[in-house]
């Protein structure tokens, strides 16, 4: 039962959020010039580290805003939360 600090609403129970997978995935464009391999990477090949992962969450039952979280996939420690568009580091 994670406690996630929404950048707008502060720390809230995990049940208010929905996970959106790996963060900072750039959508390849224009479509015509994207190779099958690159498109497949965008769709299906995402990082799954044992350790720190940058991921997206949306505060679905709160302010409905998307934001980024850095979470350790083993200990579930969350060390950083930042808004979209803000620099990661």
């Amino acid at each position: 039962m994670l406690l996630i600090a929404c950048p707008w609403c502060g720390p809230r129970d995990e049940t208010e959020f929905v996970n959106g997978g790996e963060a900072h995935i750039d959508r390849p464009t224009p479509a015509e010039s994207v190779s099958d391999a690159d498109w497949a990477a965008y769709l299906f090949f995402h990082d799954n580290p044992r350790g720190w992962l940058a991921e997206r969450w949306v505060h679905a039952f709160g302010c409905r805003q998307w934001f980024n979280v850095e979470r350790d996939t083993v200990t579930h420690e969350i060390r950083r939360v930042w808004r979209l568009g803000e620099p990661r580091a």
Partner: protein, 179 residues
């Protein structure tokens, strides 16, 4: 303020709940800056709740829902003009959602215990007071919670389509307080 008749009520030791329809509109503004916030505040005679999860009380109660999104406890008609004037030049949209919500007033010393049965939100007066609001998952549905000045009462806003479910939930939850 004259209140409409309650659509449904429940009473239990230390607890009273009343369900009403409430005039409501949602104002959305794209990337509002301090100027339009100020203009809105002046138009409504209050300090516009720009900070997340805050509520302002004036001629109309205004609650923050999201960046650039506020719930006005008024139907769109009476507030349309002041909103349009203040937001001139900004992309904005006012939706009348009076028919889309239900307002539940929960009062009594056991209000917080009742809320604690339905939501993981911390409602202790030290952290949740009049002037604040919070959206959360309550009784498994999305809800807006607004604490009252008295500390013993809360307004809860849920989607109208869940009214039947929320009533059933209140009836069941109140059983414990009758013991």
């Amino acid at each position: 303020m004259g209140e409409s008749t309650a659509l449904w009520t429940l009473a239990a030791p230390g607890l009273a709940i009343a369900e009403r329809q409430t005039p409501a509109s949602v104002l959305r503004i794209r990337r509002p800056d301090a100027a339009v916030i100020r203009a809105l505040g002046e138009a409504f005679g209050l300090s516009w709740p720009a900070a997340p999860n805050t509520v302002a009380e004036g001629a109309v109660r205004i609650a923050w829902l999201a960046p650039g999104e506020w719930l006005l406890f008024a139907s769109a008609e009476p507030v349309g003009e002041p909103v349009a004037t203040a937001c001139e030049g900004w992309l904005h949209h006012l939706s009348d959602v009076t028919a889309g919500y239900r307002l539940w007033r929960i009062e009594g010393p056991r209000s917080r215990d009742l809320l604690a049965k339905g939501a993981a939100l911390d409602t202790h007066p030290r952290v949740f007071r009049s002037g604040q609001c919070a959206q959360t998952l309550f009784a498994k549905v999305h809800a807006l919670v607004i604490p009252d000045r008295s500390g013993d009462a809360f307004d809860l806003l849920t989607d109208v389509s869940f009214a039947g479910h929320v009533r059933a939930w209140f009836i069941d939850a109140a059983e414990e307080f009758r013991a």
